[in-house]
């Protein structure tokens, strides 16, 4: 079952293994951690896994950058790489906004532990 070809196939997909491991690690961190900063870090790792995914999918083995030059025959697909530049910018914006919110939460609650915040909120009355 595990002949050389299968093992080569599996190893050849190393980028995608990395993607899946990062994705799950990040996702788990977002869900399991109570600290808001750690949640943001987890969210970042989750997003980075998608960046790696897009970058890997555009790469063609032996392909070069898509420039007009003699002797270059195979090109990698630049589109996913360009797309992910945009996604990285979006990711930075999301992270900075999340961190700004954490700062404000820390000012108002004196804690950034989610369970402690929930205990505090539980006792609050609903007023506009």
């Amino acid at each position: 079952m595990f002949d050389l070809a299968t093992i080569k196939d599996l190893l050849g997909l190393v980028n995608y293994w990395v993607v899946i491991v990062l994705m799950m690690a990040g996702f788990y961190t977002v869900i399991a951690q109570h600290n808001l900063i750690k949640k943001v870090v987890g969210l970042n790792i989750f997003q980075v896994s998608v960046f790696v995914f897009y970058i890997s999918m555009g790469k063609v083995s032996g392909g070069s950058a898509p420039i007009l030059k003699d002797g270059i025959e195979t090109y990698s697909n630049p589109l996913p790489h360009v797309l992910i530049l945009t996604a990285i910018v979006v990711g930075v914006a999301t992270t900075s906004l999340a961190l700004a919110l954490v700062v404000r939460i820390h000012h108002s609650y004196d804690t950034i532990e989610e369970d402690e915040i929930q205990t505090i909120e539980h006792g609050e009355e609903d007023i506009a």
Partner: protein, 494 residues
């Protein structure tokens, strides 16, 4: 069907996008408000013009930079898109005049110009999602609208607005990231991001596991954004603690636009393949929709905070919309689509009215609302219209959409479904009645020395929406025809 390039499509997105930094430069609250109002009205005008174009020609197209699709990014508007643009732009146009006084009361003076900047960005993002014909471009607009929404929510007075915004940010980002994972998987197989192009390639590749994984990621990601039942946890707190204006605007537009994205994916991208056969999407969506209709309505009954009650009611109403979509027949779709419009009117009115009550009395719990019907008769009359609409009383818009949904269910011989739709309306009767009872049948706790005062600039928008609700409730021909056209177009006919 080649249509000429229509630059109004681009202006629809660019005008509010460029007006946002202008608000930052102006810095003065009234200056920013004037710009935002002017822009929102201009956008509403453009949306009407586009609707007329689309009804005449079937669609409107704009190719960015003159590049033909699928290489360039294409803005496309079909009847469904034009309908959603009309909803978003229309709600935007009534929100801005309402916002002036409400925002002055609820938001710190030195932050007001930023508030309007964010509201314009959010408007621009929501409109962008609706007009774009490119899957990745849609993601960018989704994030523009989402990021501005997080900021808007965090501007609420209560400190819990901050945690609500943070929670929404986490869940919203996960949803959006799921969406790009799905888009990436589709791109890997098809090599295109253009919706129309994806549609033509899809039948050849539907059997691959990659595409099925993409569909799963897309469905879950979008369902997070539209707060479909088990993924709705961010919504109640976000709507409860956001400033009143923001709650009304988001409740009427944001989830509708997410529903639009779901429709785009299911009926455009996967339009030429029978996904309901290769993927158990239908039973899942129907189950979630029913759970939303019942469990969210039940939760609404137990709420003391009226804003939170209306938020849970929104989740239930989204259930009706998704139910219509899941039926996947023309009648069901048109029921879902017309309910998007009708729910926007009703929830907009309801949240506007509650916002006015908060403006005048600062209270949002049922206990504080005792006798409010006598102190604020004009405002609460609008709330009554919205409440009756949520129940689905005849002559209100809610009746038209529920009638359409029930008919669609009966056409498919799904009579238990029709019975459940009616049964869940009874739950709406209970939570709406709780407010009526407190507002009209109890004496005011504080002896009302003066009738609570709401400025005209808030009353006019409230009654514009309430009036529209009455009109489209009594005469559903226009909206139903439009929804039918949109549904027929989505299902592939004309």
């Amino acid at each position: 069907m080649i249509t000429a390039s229509d630059p109004w499509l681009l202006l629809l997105v660019v005008v509010p996008l460029l007006a946002a930094p202008v608000c930052v430069l102006l810095r003065s609250p009234s200056g920013a408000w004037s710009v935002a109002t002017a822009v929102s009205w201009a956008v509403f005008g453009i949306s009407i013009k586009l609707l007329l174009t689309v009804l005449e020609h079937g669609q409107a197209v704009y190719r960015i930079g003159g590049w033909d699709a699928p290489w360039g990014i294409e803005y496309v508007l079909d009847p469904l898109g034009a309908f959603v643009v009309l909803i978003v732009a229309g709600i935007g146009a009534v929100t801005m005049p309402y916002a002036k006084r409400s925002v002055e009361k609820e938001i710190r003076k030195d932050r007001i110009y930023l508030f309007y900047t964010m509201l314009l960005l959010c408007l621009s993002g929501l409109l962008g999602i609706t007009v774009t014909g490119d899957a990745f471009n849609l993601f960018v607009f989704l994030e523009i609208s989402s990021l501005s929404t997080y900021v808007l929510i965090s501007m609420g007075q209560d400190r819990r607005a901050l945690t609500a915004a943070f929670r929404y940010l986490i869940m919203g980002t996960i949803g959006a990231t799921f969406y790009i994972i799905g888009v990436g998987l589709m791109y890997q197989v098809t090599g295109t991001l253009n919706f129309a192009d994806l549609k033509t390639i899809m039948p050849a590749v539907i059997e691959t596991r990659t595409i099925l994984a993409a569909l799963a990621f897309l469905t879950v990601g979008i369902s997070l954004k539209l707060a479909l039942f088990p993924l709705h946890m961010w919504l109640p707190n976000a709507y409860t603690f956001a400033p009143s204006v923001v709650t009304a605007f988001l409740a009427a537009t944001a989830t509708k636009v997410s529903v639009y994205v779901l429709l785009r994916i299911i009926f455009t991208v996967f339009g030429d393949v029978d996904i309901f056969a290769s993927f158990p999407l239908q039973p899942v969506l129907i189950a979630m929709a029913l759970a939303a209709m019942f469990l969210a309505s039940l939760s609404a009954i137990w709420q003391e905070n009226v804003k939170r009650m209306l938020a849970y009611s929104s989740i239930a109403q989204i259930g009706y919309i998704v139910l219509g979509i899941a039926l996947a027949t023309e009648a069901g779709l048109s029921g879902g689509i017309v309910h998007m419009f009708n729910h926007a009117l009703m929830k907009g009115t309801a949240f506007f009215a509650i916002g006015a009550v908060i403006y005048a009395t600062g209270a949002v719990t049922l206990k504080d609302l005792e006798g409010i019907g006598k102190r604020m008769p004009v405002t609460m009359a609008a709330f009554v219209i919205a409440g009756l609409g949520l129940i689905g009383v005849p002559l209100t818009p809610g009746f038209i959409s529920k009638w359409q949904l029930v008919t669609a269910a009966l056409e498919l011989d799904m009579w238990p479904l029709a019975a459940l739709i009616l049964l869940s309306s009874l739950l709406a009767v209970i939570y709406v009645w709780r407010v009526f009872e407190v507002a009209y049948l109890r004496e005011p706790a504080i002896t009302a020395d003066k009738p609570a005062d709401v400025p005209l600039s808030m009353l006019v928008p409230i009654w514009t929406l309430a009036g529209a609700a009455i009109y489209f409730g009594a005469n559903g021909t226009f909206t139903l025809d439009l929804a039918d056209t949109a549904a027929r177009h989505l299902m592939g006919g004309f």
